[in-house]
Amino acid sequence: MTKQKHILSILVENQPGVLSRIAGLFSGRGYNIESLCVAETTDPLVSRVTMVTMADKPIVEQIMKQLHKLINVIKVYELTGSSYVQREMALIKVQAKPEYRAEILRIVDIFRCKVVDVGREHYTLEVTGDEGKMDAILNLLKPIGIKEIAKTGIIALFREPK
């Protein structure tokens, strides 16, 4: 069976140790984590974990059941396969030699990102988007010279019926 990317949205009790239970489950059972984001929800007692994992279908089913079995996990949803919005943010530090500065700003404009820090030799850009957009901008910036990059990992929510 082929491995596919799956986005899981997990509501957990906002308590110390919960994240390590989830991480331990993945390492202990040999599942993989592509990315992981955690933050409090509007209910301060609940956090949302958004997790991306590569796995085939039966394994994802098993992962979801195993997650649900953890006492502090309230709900587990899979977003992949249904209608959802996803975003990821990246901070990208690009080399900005004088001859490239205009080119970089053009890219910034096209991708509607922001320059959040400027130096003599660099720009730091803030980019938000889905995976496709992220890949596209990175591909364009690579030849110019990416010095450093920090990504948040994917966060996602179901779309509500219109």
């Binding site: 140790g17 390590s20 331990g24 489950l25 202990g28 098993q62 195993q66 079995k69 006492i71 309230i74």
Partner: protein
């Protein structure tokens, strides 16, 4: 009411109906011990914390209640880890209290500090570090509820010293409800209708029952299902006893050392009704050849057990007892036809497997271990609680002691931990003081927790230990004989203590049989004693457990005697 943490703990233990604690003290739990002494809860002082946790496990299995264990921080806590892992794999409800250094020292590498919550996270159903005395009552209540409900398991509570000593105004905790924990007890009735349809159409069905049926106390319902439908029954190691080992529909145990007829019928059946099992690799052998022609109905309370290792036709999430009850009711409304006639050829086939290839051994002039177990079965009429160590002794116990009732076979199935049998027997004997409790042991395993002889003696527990002494780590030697060209590396155990003298040194009774004709007299004498007794049987050194399915092979491909 002003109470210290330790006093609150006692109050909660009483409320949970705890009558016995297996434990071993240390610096950070003295306050708890001090309060414990003021209650009528019985404390059993073991000789090693591993003994405490296995005893709590044995107590839980024999009584059907939650076992409780109390140890100190650091080494006391780490010594319980093996036993916690065993209870976890076998889904046994135990609550473990570990002392911890005072909260303000946590994280400082204080004396006897270990992160036991971190260490046991993957081998407990849940665990807690109590940070405030105010949380203690609620956490204890939750822990007992979690340990015993759904698929049971061990729950650990780490108690910093200051949490026990701080005085607070006690408020009774509210009714426990966890929004994130709601086990499914009642199955989806649609799924049961599908199961009924499969049962009606099956020509060659079998039932495969496991530890889940023991835990849900569903043995009666399972037996009813088998009789009503005339479907033969096999069990995993953990399930032994849920169906009478003397019933004509009994197939014997399935798996690596299963009977020929149980393994063959799993290979040939067209319907496998799996109840309270998790399809361990020791049961299935090579998974893609397991029950290749069968539709599979899988009933289990833990959704993660279903479709983990084996594809399933009809998954049913629910408590085994409740589900079987409902299934039986549905079947009562159905016309199942002339079962005698319909099952005839299938049951005949099974009978043929049984008569051509039964469990067998030949007793000549050296004692056969199987003979000892068979004699033990005869003399106790199958009524004893049997605990085991791990290895060949465990498999012979499973094969030759024909269990009639659940909660009578207590063995470390999933973890397979040597040294389990004696402390587990102590726990079982305390749960059932009137019962005969026998640990069927190997010479290697018994030495792993032999110190608990002193515990048995101190509390006047008449547990009986039957050592099948082959002077080998026999099961490993068997693998070396069969798969490693008889290279017996590191499995010879010629230098064992004199077990008779050892028994006597502990103030117990020691008996030995070296010839076949001594087996019965030694058993009769040992079993009728009111003392703790070690009976040593000097057995055939290189006897093997058969049938045997080599690891990773299909379970229908057995090595036979």
């Amino acid at each position: 009411m002003e109470l210290t943490g330790a006093q609150i703990l006692m109050k909660m233990l009483k409320e949970e109906g705890v009558d016995t604690i297996f434990g071993f003290p240390g610096g950070v739990v003295i306050d708890i011990y001090d309060e414990l002494a003021k209650t009528d809860i019985r404390h059993i002082l073991v000789r090693h914390e591993q003994g405490a946790i296995h005893a709590a496990d044995g107590y839980a299995r024999a009584s059907g209640k939650v076992g409780v264990c109390l140890v100190t921080s650091g080494p006391g806590a780490t010594n319980t880890v093996t036993g916690i892992a065993s209870a976890y794999m076998d889904s046994i409800p135990v609550v473990i209290f570990t002392g911890q250094v005072p909260t303000q020292l946590i994280g400082n590498d204080a004396f006897q500090e270990v992160d036991i919550v971190g260490i046991t996270r993957p081998c407990t159903k849940h665990n807690y570090l109590v940070k405030h005395t105010e949380d203690l009552a609620r956490i204890v209540k939750e822990a007992f509820m979690i340990a015993a409900s759904g698929r049971p398991g061990p729950v650990l509570i780490d108690l910093p010293k200051d949490v026990s000593t701080t005085t607070i105004t006690y408020k009774a905790p509210k009714k426990i409800e966890l929004r994130s924990y709601k086990p499914t007890y009642t199955p989806n009735i649609k799924q049961l209708h599908s199961a009924v349809k499969l049962i009606k159409n099956a020509k060659k069905p079998i039932i495969f029952a496991g530890g889940g049926v023991v835990l849900s106390k569903g043995s009666k319902e399972l037996t009813e299902l088998a009789h009503k439908t005339q479907i033969p029954v096999t069990c995993s190691l953990m399930g032994l006893g849920v169906f009478p080992g003397t019933d004509p529909l009994w197939l014997g145990m399935i798996g690596m050392h299963g009977t020929y007829r149980a393994n063959m019928s799993s290979g040939d059946c067209d319907l496998l009704i799996a109840v309270g099992v998790r399809f361990d690799d020791r049961v299935t052998g090579k998974t893609d050849t397991f029950a290749p022609n069968a539709k599979i109905v899988h009933i289990d309370i833990d959704p993660t057990s279903i479709r983990k290792n084996i594809p399933v036709t009809v998954p049913v999430v629910g408590d085994c007892k409740i589900t079987l009850e409902l299934l039986n009711k549905l079947l009562d409304k159905e016309d199942l036809g002339d079962l005698k006639k319909n099952r005839n050829s299938w049951l005949n086939q099974i009978e043929k497997w049984k008569s051509t290839t039964p469990l067998a051994y030949k007793q000549k002039n050296i004692i056969k271990p199987q003979y000892v177990v068979e004699k033990l079965y005869e003399l106790t009429k199958g009524n004893a609680i049997i605990t085991t160590e791990v290895g060949q002794n465990q498999m012979w116990a499973a094969q030759y002691y024909h269990f009639k009732k659940p909660n009578h076979f207590i063995t470390s199935g999933g973890l397979g931990v040597m040294g389990f049998g004696l402390p587990a027997a102590i726990g079982a004997q305390i749960a059932c003081p009137k019962k005969l409790v026998v640990d069927i042991a190997g010479d290697g395993s018994i030495q792993m927790n032999i110190q608990e002889m002193a515990t048995a003696k101190q509390y006047g527990l008449p547990v009986k230990i039957v050592i099948l002494n082959n002077r080998y780590l026999g099961m490993v030697r068997q693998w070396q004989e069969l798969f490693y060209g008889k290279r017996y590396t590191a499995t010879g155990m010629e230098h064992a203590p004199d077990f008779v003298k050892l028994a006597e040194a502990y103030g117990a009774v020691g008996l030995r049989a070296t010839k076949p004709e001594e087996v019965e007299p030694v058993l009769i004498k040992g079993l009728s004693s009111s003392e703790t007794v070690i009976m040593e049987f000097v057995v055939e050194r290189e006897e093997c457990v058969y049938p045997m399915v080599p690891a990773g092979a299909p379970i229908t491909e057995m090595l036979l005697v």
